[in-house]
Symmetry: C2
Subunit: 252 residues, 2 copies
Amino acid sequence: MTVRLADAGDHIVLKPCIHDYQVNCGNCRLNSICLPLALESDDIEQLDNIIQRSKPLQKSQHLYREGDEFKSVFAVRSGAMKAYKTTDDGREQVTGFYFPGEILGMDGISNNLHASSAKALETAAVCEIPFTSLEKLSAMMPTLQRHFFQLMSREITADQQLITLLSKNSADERVASLMLSISTRNSKRKLSATQFRLPMSRVDIGNYLGLTVETVSRVFSRMQKLEILRVDNKEIKILDVQGLQKMANVGD
Amino acid sequence: MTVRLADAGDHIVLKPCIHDYQVNCGNCRLNSICLPLALESDDIEQLDNIIQRSKPLQKSQHLYREGDEFKSVFAVRSGAMKAYKTTDDGREQVTGFYFPGEILGMDGISNNLHASSAKALETAAVCEIPFTSLEKLSAMMPTLQRHFFQLMSREITADQQLITLLSKNSADERVASLMLSISTRNSKRKLSATQFRLPMSRVDIGNYLGLTVETVSRVFSRMQKLEILRVDNKEIKILDVQGLQKMANVGD
DNA sequence: CGTTCCATTGAGATGTGTCAATTCAAGTGG
DNA sequence: CCACTTGAATTGACACATCTCAATGGAACG
């Protein structure tokens, strides 16, 4: 088991964070999203014991890379992450954006290798959940096992949603859907559903949605002209939720 | 627990099959794909006890429908299935094809409702694996728990592969990739990697790949003209594997 | 205050969708 | 056995949404 050294200054070793003494799953304000378990406080403590927190990642630092040995899944604590795969001809495909409370890295379980890379879109803190510990704990705690099955299943349905979006929907519909998705996820975290700052670039949005930057930009312009939303660079304000839903053309 | 009645002759009740007395996981020739477990024979027996087999589904019969209560996942024993979602405006999106040895239905775990529908593409037999039993058994058998996590993770990576395909690749590349995928999966089942019969229609292929029927048809014609494969309706013969890989433009 | 990166906007090119006609295969009933 | 029907697949002509290429504008940062 070798220790991985910093790789071109851009792949970090997670070190324990010595500041956040009080942070634990019991008092984390995200635990209703991350691990909405009807856990006995005793159980929470056990879960808490296996979770490792570390100092934050800087923007564009990698949490893991495609092909890395899979050891843990991660929960976003603050900031935002993107997951992406690199195709054989060197292009990227963004497979997901992850906001506080959301879990990433589950695609690595099948081969014990990470199937995608994960990168911080802005300064971000994560909780590392070592998978072997999680497995052992799951075998002992039925609710945790169930919960983790559900998390993975949710990742599957989210991917299928994206598949449908890419396969069937126009550029307008895709961008509108993403805005609605971010809005919904924001409100789950008790943040504004109508006003937020996009942590990702237009390139990332286009890449995720199977569009070019130019098209994304044009869609935003169109939406602005229709007074559906106000765009100021990464700052988004939804002016007409119904109009946005209509544009997305999905009941989601 | 109500018994579901046949629904317009097209939704069946799975009844125990009284013919295949000898069929069990231990002697199933697919068990290297379906459940490649280093299980003690005792363990296999336990698993076998929870699995229910039933009489085959006829072509176009549903195994489950989007919104149905989720109770089980299913392993294809023979034939082929497709999974699909219906969008809000009534269109279909095929999310996957499933061949013998492959597992479907895992997207229902997150909400206890099936997130997609599953339909037989041809006469097909399945093994039903009740999920609560599977959960209990998993908690007792670490290898089974691990295996099921891996199965779900594999479903995630497969979906991500499709996302990339839809987002980045041309019609030629998409169809070529699908042909290669089927070829690979066939050879895992010790069937011919170069000659097979497609169980799905052109419509299904197009739908799955985000293309119209006409485009799929044109791609097949093009491939035939380039002598990459020979197409006779649903009968496919791959003449030039390398050419096909080159056309797919993926190292998969 | 330049440099660099990111975002916007325009004009033209192109791959795939749309519409329509034709062929082919499979099944049905006289 | 032959019409007849029905659904699937193929092929062609044209339209259009999005991509590509190129220029410009604006924000962030040293």
